[in-house]
């Protein structure tokens, strides 16, 4: 296990390395959420409009 804790410590630079990689991971998730969730939302909006027009 000391191997793993050494890896996480990054020779004292762990805080810098992991915060940089962590922020990048969060940004990548934020970039992919809108286009992936957007289609479902659009489908729902259009379905509601169709129902309104049919009534």
């Amino acid at each position: 296990m000391s191997n793993l804790s050494e890896f996480i410590a990054m020779g004292g630079h762990g805080a810098y390395v992991w915060s940089a990689y962590g922020i990048t991971a969060v940004v990548l998730i934020l970039l992919f959420l809108p286009p992936l969730l957007g289609k479902r939302q659009l489908v729902q909006v259009e379905a509601r409009r169709r129902r309104r027009e049919e009534n």
Binding site: M10, V17, L28, R40, E46, R50
Partner: protein
């Protein structure tokens, strides 16, 4: 030369069909390159003899900075294509790429800042490279804000296209900032004419990460553009069919 290909590019339906075929390959390539690049960069690449492990930030900092600039050049090209040939898809690309570019610039700035602390002893310095990258971020903000401020789509398309083209003057300033001014920032890792100053065990994973970021950028842009095309063309029959099938 046949121009049919060029005109097809402007057709939203053609774009939607061809990008569906591209998506699985692009996803596989990007995810694979990202996993390989991150593990290689964090675990197997040797540490720097001066900077220790903080140097591993390079594997996200440099790709993000390259993408931030490539994306801006894409905006400028899309702006020209949109203004000259009135291609609808060019404006879709411009609008969808702008937030990605802004986030890439943000990542380049923040990771650079984090890397600066152990290396230069400061998070920020008003140095030419850093300042010109901050200007790039503001250019992206300007384009996004301009779009939001103008409700007419055609007017907004023209205004953002002009702004994207004018702002491209900042790109050579970023590139040559490390040569023109005395700067803390190190020069470019990859150049066309010279071999990288770092050993191959260090720059090869960096190359993989640059490719991964290009792949992720293309993937994200395609996904955003496809959604935007569906939104803009929601009255067209082929879009209605797609949306009804998914409902």
């Amino acid at each position: 030369m046949s121009w049919t290909f060029f005109h097809k590019l402007g057709s939203p339906k053609w774009f939607y069909d061809i990008s569906s075929k591209l998506l699985p390959w692009l996803t596989a390539f990007s995810v694979l390159a990202l996993v390989v690049g991150v593990v290689w960069g964090l675990v197997f690449a040797p540490q720097d003899y001066q900077q220790g492990n903080s140097f591993r930030i390079i594997y996200i900092h440099v790709p993000a900075a390259i993408l931030a600039q490539s994306c801006y050049m894409l905006l400028a090209v899309a702006g020209i294509v949109g203004l000259v040939w009135r291609m609808k898809l060019a404006d879709v690309a411009l609008q969808c790429a702008a937030p990605i570019g802004a986030w890439m610039t943000f990542v380049a700035l923040i990771t650079g800042s984090i890397w600066g602390k152990p290396t230069w002893g400061t998070y920020w310095e008003w140095d030419a490279r850093l300042t010109s990258m901050l200007i790039l971020l503001f250019l992206y903000f300007g384009i996004i804000a301009l779009r939001l401020a103008i409700s007419n789509r055609d007017t907004a398309a023209k205004a953002t296209a002009v702004m994207a083209i004018v702002g491209v003057v900042n790109i050579p300033i970023i590139k040559y900032s490390v040569d023109w001014w005395n700067t803390l920032h190190q020069p470019a890792t990859f150049t066309v004419t010279e071999k990288p100053a770092m050993p191959v065990e260090m720059w090869l994973p960096l190359l993989v990460m640059v490719l991964a970021f290009y792949g992720l950028f293309a993937l994200n842009l395609l996904l955003r553009m496809r959604l935007e095309v569906l939104r803009r063309e929601h009255k067209a029959r082929w879009v209605r069919e797609i949306l009804e099938k998914s409902a």
